[in-house]
Subunit: 361 residues, 2 copies
């Protein structure tokens, strides 16, 4: 498959409030040729984020097309307003993209395919509107088939939502591949799906099919890889999102878990009257909840230390977290995920019994 | 509100494979004037089920209307084929009902409102097609508001799916009302919704909104009652349905739990390679999973002894179950739910602090 050449829409929000844009730029296989942000026109990506591939920041899709010498395949909507609605100020960019023969990829709750004007324009120009948050029609209940998947399955689980489970999963896949393990990322949320180019948005699947939609992905990916790293969602102590978490935990029947946490987080994000339990309890909670469906263990921890400026303080936080969870831990962004992959391999994951990863041969 | 006079469609399946029909007939406020079953035409309901209100069994909706002297308000679809599809052999009955000015109520996965012919006919005759399994459009994420509900909340939870959680919930409400407690049933599945005439089908709600859809019902019902009995779904050890269970557990923030089990069940129904954990473990599992969101306790047990013919053997099974769960227990159908309500009241539930239920006054 040829690399998709894309522009990313991030009006008024790049980079700090453009999580989807940053995720695609950091982890996606796509080649980002321009970023649309009308508040930062004339800047470059590197002016704001030093470790991303560079690209110009432009005012409109027309300017993006010019900056890319006319070579663009798609426009990605890289931001989401609260509630996931559509911002009418983006419409002209989407229309120009469609008229230029580009697909439009979106993770909004507002489905572009349900927008009659955009849908008609897309049909006229023969391009696709890809709503990654719209689940497939043919999803159904889990059958238990995840138990027969030959690849090892590693699932990231969290102490809360928004602690870095997607990032940890992607860094683990990258570190595993560096080590020679044939690893793949299994996305369960809209940003992950945009990055990977496939996947089921589990939070949008009817709750009866949540586990089944995870199972369907694992069965599809099995055979092609030795290690499948499933992106977790939410937390089993979350007052609103625990159903999603529980469906992914049982639907993936994981061989190992990576416990993800954000340093300093003490209460549920956005639900601050709910305190987080102690770290050590989470290990028992996740293993215990999984157990009747799949015996598994937390093999490593991933700590998001983004809010700690000082490297030494961050390292201390990682060490404390590792001690509390009683497993090896790392900040997968700051430290890389080698230590996490090492711990997973020590627990027997990602080792292809046929080729004998870890053997002397 | 006047009592709704209805006919119940149960072709070829009454009574043993007509779970929805039986639930509505046993627990609903509706007056059942006829049952449609073309295999049992001429029989009466009491010929098959001795403790239900009697009604004639007829071949078609026309015959039902005649049997009811023309006085019918609605036709309920009281059976569901595997997969929840629509059986074309029912179409003429539905059409006759609509043409007679009757609403049609259905819990099928197949939505009657999406059937162009039926929808057009209903519009022409000014009647409603009620698809109880179609969630409202305005459901959203939980906010934690269940924690502020003034009524006490009792949730039925299960060792497995299909163990009798809906029946237990309905019997508990009936027994509580007998005792003078202002109790209400909060339905979460299609049969419960048909019986109660309101409710959100949690298994069909997107997983992100599962807890929120329970919360929305509790907030709606609060103020009108002292005890809200929430119908549980599935089981937290179920490989396919645990997401639904977890969403209801956290979304309802229950003050007490009733553990429901079917005597003799040792493996997950339909997933027999998964063994059920010991009964005693479930108490810790449910209380532990609820705890970070809501401290709660299993206050009683409900054992379904339908498969035990002998009364003494059934009583022994209930006693063993009570001992294993370490709470008072009963078979709510065989014994009534008094013992369960008594245990809930002993735990402080359903006691209106203002009127002082249980006080001497």
């Amino acid at each position: 498959m040829e690399t998709e050449r894309i522009a990313v829409l991030a009006h008024e929000k790049f980079p700090d409030r453009a999580k989807t844009a940053l995720g695609v730029m950091r982890y996606g296989d796509q080649e980002v040729r321009a970023v649309l942000d009308r508040d930062r026109t004339g800047d470059r990506v590197r002016d704001h984020v030093s470790d991303l591939p560079d690209a110009p920041i432009v005012e409109s899709f027309s300017d993006a097309l010019a900056a890319a010498d006319g070579n663009l395949d798609a426009l990605y909507v890289g931001i989401a307003p609260i509630g996931g609605g559509f911002d009418e100020s983006w419409r002209s960019d989407l229309e120009t993209a469609i008229e230029s023969g580009c697909d439009v990829v979106s993770g909004l709750h507002y489905f572009l395919n349900d927008d009659e004007k955009l849908a008609a324009l897309a049909a006229e120009h023969g391009v696709d509107l890809v709503d990654v948050r719209e689940p497939d029609d043919d999803l159904t209940v889990a059958t238990g088939a995840s138990g027969d998947v030959e690849a090892d399955v590693l699932l990231t689980v969290g102490t809360d939502c928004s602690v870095g489970k997607m990032t940890a999963s992607l860094e683990i896949v990258a570190a595993a591949r560096e080590r020679g393990i044939d690893a793949a990322f299994v996305p369960t949320g809209q940003t992950g799906i945009m990055i990977a180019g496939w996947g089921n948005p589990i939070d949008r699947v009817v709750s009866d099919f949540a586990a089944g939609a995870v199972e369907e992905m694992l069965v599809e990916a099995d055979g092609d890889h030795d290690l499948l790293v499933v992106e977790g969602q939410g937390s089993i102590v979350h007052p609103a999102y625990s159903a999603v978490t529980c469906g992914i935990l049982h639907g993936s029947m994981p061989d190992g878990l990576v416990l993800c946490h954000a340093a300093g987080r003490e209460a549920v994000h956005g639900y601050e009257s709910f305190s987080l339990p102690p770290i050590g309890e989470y290990v028992d909670r996740y293993e215990g909840l999984a157990d009747p469906v799949r015996e598994t263990a937390v093999v490593a921890g991933a700590l998001n230390t983004r809010d700690i400026a000082d490297d030494e303080a961050a390292a201390d936080a990682v060490a404390s977290f590792a001690e509390a969870a009683d497993v090896p831990a790392a900040d997968p962004v700051r430290d890389g995920a080698d230590r996490i992959v090492e711990a997973a391999v020590d627990a027997g994951l990602g080792v292809d019994e046929r080729s004998g990863e870890g053997d002397d041969e």
